[in-house]
């Protein structure tokens, strides 16, 4: 009966409406409880948080930390590894890598920074086994992975036929087969064309052979998502990513799901929250910064954030994560092969590209974002504009799209910019003048509060992906994941950016399931995390019908059908989430 008390801290728990109230947090057997018995309290581990900031453990809803493309990034970048090393200790492994750290280092670095839950945002079905193997070796963190469907042959075929139920049956079977958590859609209909050295550039462009448009894929997958009732909404990486002027296609893509009804049909026990912990969105826009470019070419390039934000402010079915660019080296890795080729044509850097059979594609390139580069400087400003101009923080999540815009260990730097106008102005002075000339950031006075930071880094990331039944808050029944920052909110000085950043980089305590895992940046315990995935169900007869199609086209795969599934033994502490249980399963119209 292990118990932990986090005493006397200033608690920021937005899903419970707690804004800096001095409170004790009680944890028993890994879960938050209302109180402890006298005996339990006597034996409890006491963490004195007097004068400190207490938040739920960080939740990263969009990061690239496991799988084939991540490992390709490691393999092609030895120079990324030799200067960023971590020595082994009695309880931790050694590790290396700055933009693409080794799996162990990733786990330790996230935990040392106060994050306890991280989701891999793009798992191609054929690489699911590899992804789970890497997650299995990642210590401490609770994880899951979104599966890439936007250019999947079966999906494109069923949606072209207008058969959303059969597409849903396929998605349900695939998620159970490969232990996936959500649906990711990358450059819908475009990556398939990349197999023929082409792309699509408009929402109504028809792609080769499947003759389907991005609009049909986005609408279809969003319908599949809500038909099954998945915990998270469709996670969308839009078309024309990284092209000047793409903010308009991004806005139009978000419009497609307007008016849809979010349905979470999971069979889970919800921890207590004061606010509604169910997601409200039908589309979760990935790395919005890369999708809100203005201008028409690189000459008149500028921020297009204003136009996109105007739409988001008026819409209630959208959540975005920003994909900030905090400068320095990065490794772009995405299922959007053609976007990586475009980056190669611009930068001449080394790159890799991969076609993933009937499912998707992928590309990796090494990048450097320089303050002196006009384009990097605008991208930096855009990443911050997105979070500062969207009025309702419950529509935004802070990420760097690690390691595309920047590295997750730069989150403390991004938080500092969001909280301090002075920090932004100081950085802008070191940047190419386009940073403020071609964005509206210079005129933005907003400084986010600790409460809002807690929304952007925990509460809303958890709610958006449906993990708020246990993560992202400290209500009774929630996981005992807590971060204690050595930061006194009553003496907060946002005009000392360096000191502020240090506080977020090295929390005093990271607590996972009631156990202290990191203390002032040092890893002190290495528990094994959980692996979440969904088990959605649809009509049995329909599934049989669908599997006939799958087996028929399996002749185009390079592996046998029986070797396709990823058994649960690849997952540490698997947590299957039942969705749309058979009894209530949809019956075919």
């Amino acid at each position: 009966m292990a118990a932990t008390i986090i005493k006397n801290g200033y608690v920021f728990d937005p899903l419970n409406g707690i804004d800096g109230e001095v409170k004790d947090i009680f944890i028993r057997d890994g879960k938050v409880v209302a109180s402890l018995s006298g005996a339990e309290a006597r034996d409890a581990t006491i963490i004195d948080a007097t004068g400190k900031t207490v938040m739920p453990g960080g939740v990263d809803s969009h990061s690239h930390v496991a799988g084939a493309k991540v490992n390709a990034g490691r393999l092609m970048r030895p120079e990324d590894h030799y200067k960023s090393v971590r020595a082994k200790t009695d309880i931790t492994h050694s590790g290396s890598g700055y933009t693409v750290p080794s799996v162990y280092k990733q786990g330790y670095d996230y935990a040392a920074m106060g994050y306890t839950t991280v989701f891999e945002a793009a798992m191609p079905p054929l690489e699911a086994r590899h992804t789970h193997e890497e997650m299995r070796s990642t210590p401490i963190l609770d994880m899951g992975a979104y599966m890439v469907f936007g250019n999947n042959w079966f999906i494109m075929r069923y949606l072209k036929d207008g058969d959303v139920e059969k597409a849903a049956a396929y998605v349900a079977w695939m998620m159970r087969t490969h232990k996936a958590y959500g649906i990711k859609c990358v450059n819908p209909a475009g990556v398939e064309n990349w197999g023929w050295a082409k792309n699509v550039h408009g929402l109504d462009d028809h792609n080769i052979h499947f003759d389907i448009t991005p609009r049909e894929v986005i609408r279809g997958l969003a319908e599949v998502n809500e038909l099954l009732g998945l915990p998270m909404s469709l996670h969308l990486h839009t078309n024309n990513l990284g092209h000047p002027g793409n903010w308009e296609i991004t806005r139009d893509s978000l419009q497609i799901t307007s008016g849809m009804d979010p349905k979470n049909k999971t069979e889970v026990e919800w921890a207590e929250t004061k606010e509604n912990a169910r997601r409200k969105q039908c589309v979760y826009l990935a790395h919005a910064q890369f999708s809100s470019f203005g201008g028409t070419s690189w000459r008149d390039f500028g921020s297009g954030v204003k136009g996109l934000v105007d739409y988001v402010n008026g819409a209630d079915h959208v959540v975005i994560d920003n994909g900030a660019v905090p400068f320095g080296p990065a490794t772009a890795m995405t299922g959007d092969g053609p976007a990586i080729h475009d980056l190669y044509m611009l930068s001449g850097q080394k790159w890799a590209n991969c076609d993933i059979e009937l499912e998707c594609g992928s590309g990796v390139i090494s990048l450097m974002y320089l303050k002196g580069s006009p384009i990097s400087a605008v991208q930096w400003a855009m990443g911050l504009e997105l979070l500062l101009l969207v009025k309702d923080p419950w529509k935004t999540i802070m990420t760097t799209d690690h390691p595309n815009g920047g590295v997750f260990t730069q989150y403390p730097q991004v938080i500092t910019w969001l909280m301090s106008k002075k920090a932004r102005d100081d950085t802008a002075k070191e940047c190419h003048k386009w940073a403020y000339d071609r964005s509206s950031l210079g005129g933005v006075d907003r400084e986010l509060s600790l409460y809002e930071i807690a929304i952007l880094t925990r509460a809303n990331s958890a709610r958006t992906i449906g993990m708020s039944y246990r993560k992202g808050h400290l209500g009774v029944g929630a996981d005992g994941d807590v971060t204690v920052y050595d930061l006194d909110p009553t003496k907060l000085n946002v005009n000392d950016p360096a000191a502020l950043m240090q506080k977020f980089a090295r929390p005093d305590y990271t607590v996972k399931d009631g156990q202290v895992v990191a203390r002032q940046g040092q890893i002190v315990a290495v528990p094994k995390g959980r692996r979440y995935y969904c088990r959605p169900y649809l009509d049995d007869a329909l599934e049989k019908e669908m599997l006939v199609d799958v087996k028929n086209w399996f002749k185009y795969y390079t592996l046998g059908f029986s070797n396709y599934p990823v058994p649960e033994k690849y997952l540490t502490n698997p947590v299957p989430i039942q969705v749309n249980k058979p009894l209530e399963a949809v019956v075919r119209r």
Binding site: P78, E79, D80, Y82, K88
Partner: protein, 264 residues
């Protein structure tokens, strides 16, 4: 002036990683502190005194401090790695990475140096009186940006990939080099007074290379661009009649690399 004398205690088994041997880290420190500086040997960290007898003569600033290594340290890696000032005299052979990423000061190696000598060097002088290994003044594996400043002088021969990714500074080799000298060079100067085997300047986009001897297999992407007698490359005078080539057209459409090859 101050001198810190390190005498190797005997044969070193597993190579040690001694980036602490730097005048700017040791200057002005008492003997006990220098003896206690930690070096990695495989998976364990040990104090410097495990491997060296140390004598400290005087205390001065980094600029005024000379570290004398009196013996063979060919199994000691990273000597002077990242140093910014002062002098290191190695009265024997040095291991890998000597003077890598150094930004100032002087390192003199009386005998041979291992691979990666002066890797990604930014400034200062590295003088090797014997032979050098592979990757002298080059970029680390995977990187395309090597030495950016300073000077490396090798009195003997060097092996392959000398000055790979060179972006600035100067490397002068009195003897021969092997393969891919100046590969992916973007700036700076390489002078080879002896012969080269193949791939000189492969994929270069800028900077200068001069080879006095023969190049056994010339890279195909170079275009002849006139002859010059006693040309001056930057402030470096070359002696003799040279054929000048521009390249490497195999990679870049408009390369600025110049390769001078002396007429026999």
């Amino acid at each position: 002036m101050a001198e810190i004398v390190l005498v190797p205690k005997g044969k070193i088994g597993i190579n040690i990683e001694a980036e602490v041997i730097r005048p700017d880290l040791m200057a002005g420190k008492p003997k006990a502190e220098i003896e206690g500086m930690k070096v990695w040997q495989g998976p364990v960290e040990l104090p410097l005194k495990e491997f060296f007898d140390i004598d400290v003569r005087g205390a001065a600033t980094a600029e005024e401090t000379t570290i004398i290594i009196d013996g063979d340290v060919s199994r000691v890696k990273h000597i002077g790695h990242g140093m910014k000032a002062g002098k290191i005299e190695i009265r024997g052979s040095a291991g890998m990475h000597v003077g890598a990423e150094s930004a100032g000061g002087v390192i003199v190696v009386e005998k041979d140096a291992g691979a990666w000598a002066g890797m990604e060097m930014k400034g200062g002088l590295l003088q090797i009186k014997g032979n050098a290994g592979d990757h002298v003044g080059s970029a680390y594996r995977g990187s395309w940006r090597g030495m950016t400043g300073g000077q490396i002088m090798i009195e003997g021969n060097a092996r392959s990939q000398l000055g790979a990714g060179l972006a600035g500074g100067q490397i002068v080799v009195s003897g021969n080099v092997e393969n891919f000298c100046g590969m992916r060079q973007g700036g700076g100067l390489i002078v080879v007074k002896g012969d080269a085997i193949r791939g000189v300047g492969a994929e270069m986009a800028g900077g200068n290379i001069a080879v006095y001897g023969t190049i056994r297999q010339f890279a195909p992407g170079f275009v002849e661009n006139g002859r010059e007698e006693n040309p001056k490359v930057g402030d470096f005078p070359l002696e003799g009649m040279f054929v000048k080539y521009t390249g490497d057209y195999a990679i870049s459409k408009n390369p600025k690399g110049l390769l001078y090859s002396r007429e026999v």
